[in-house]
Subunit: 182 residues, 2 copies
Amino acid sequence: MAERRSERLAQIVGAARALLEERGPDALTMRSVAETLGIRAPSLYKHVPDKADLETAIVADGLAEMADVHAAAIAGHPDPLLALAQTYRAWALHHPHLYRLMTAKPLDRDRLPEGLEDRAAAPIVDACGGDPDRARAAWAFAHGMVSLELADRFPPDADLGAAWSAGIDAYRPMEVSADPPR
Amino acid sequence: MAERRSERLAQIVGAARALLEERGPDALTMRSVAETLGIRAPSLYKHVPDKADLETAIVADGLAEMADVHAAAIAGHPDPLLALAQTYRAWALHHPHLYRLMTAKPLDRDRLPEGLEDRAAAPIVDACGGDPDRARAAWAFAHGMVSLELADRFPPDADLGAAWSAGIDAYRPMEVSADPPR
DNA sequence: GTCTATATCAAGATAGAC
DNA sequence: GTCTATCTTGATATAGAC
């Protein structure tokens, strides 16, 4: 999995990701993936051991993309925490099904490229000044906001922008956060 | 749904909740619910319109229970935010499948008892001093922590207790949060 | 309010031929 | 590396008799 892929395998993962993103998790079936490529479902099993492996490949794709996007977002930004929060939210909202696949179940770390998980986490740790506990709390906040928004679980009248601001302020270094917003 | 229930309906909801909690969402089928009660699946449809309605009844059950547990947790507690956080986490971890059903998709507010959603949210708003935006941020943090823990998505070496502490401190009133815990 | 019978649908995966 | 044929499984829900 971590080694170089055949062309065909890359096509399969690409088709699977597109299917997931465009039509949701229920549409991600071995049959549909095959159909997209103009072949039959059983043929996929010459390239992929099973569906779980295919999903892991999609997750790896998403993780790598998120890592790049977030690293770029904080680079040289005067307010990295704010930049990261905005980028995190925007990416998740643009890739709802993929985001859910990436966060709703355990990572299959054995089948994931070495170091990828850390690379994806690095921008958050950086933005939190290197404190891993604070970084996990900040991640939980962002993940909670995003997953409740994706699940449409906030009350209809909730001001999510204001909730994000309240949360971001809470994670700022003390000197800044001691300064009341208004 | 919000009106008084027949005995039979209460038994059905109870059996369904037990099935969900003990054997997970895939085990929650109309067949299994019926089997638990010693009847056949089609008979359920004399009492419940469809499966979605049954799930909503389970969610209402869980919401009411959470509302009571959390209200009791903050009542007269010197550190309501801490008490609430601990109670929130413990309840979710003890009811993982139910918690997920309650948070992973939109509430069917039309079939939920009037005022229940607000009653469940009240303890968090109270613990946040009445500020709804701050309360939503705090809820998102707690939900994020819990759902990542339930999904086993944190790295194996993560100190979740420390992450919770970091997050809770961030949501304290300013005066207190400037004061280090120990 | 319960039953049996059934419609309807769809999934992941394997065997073995070419 | 692709195919056809098939296994195995299991779900929600309705019709209509009793």
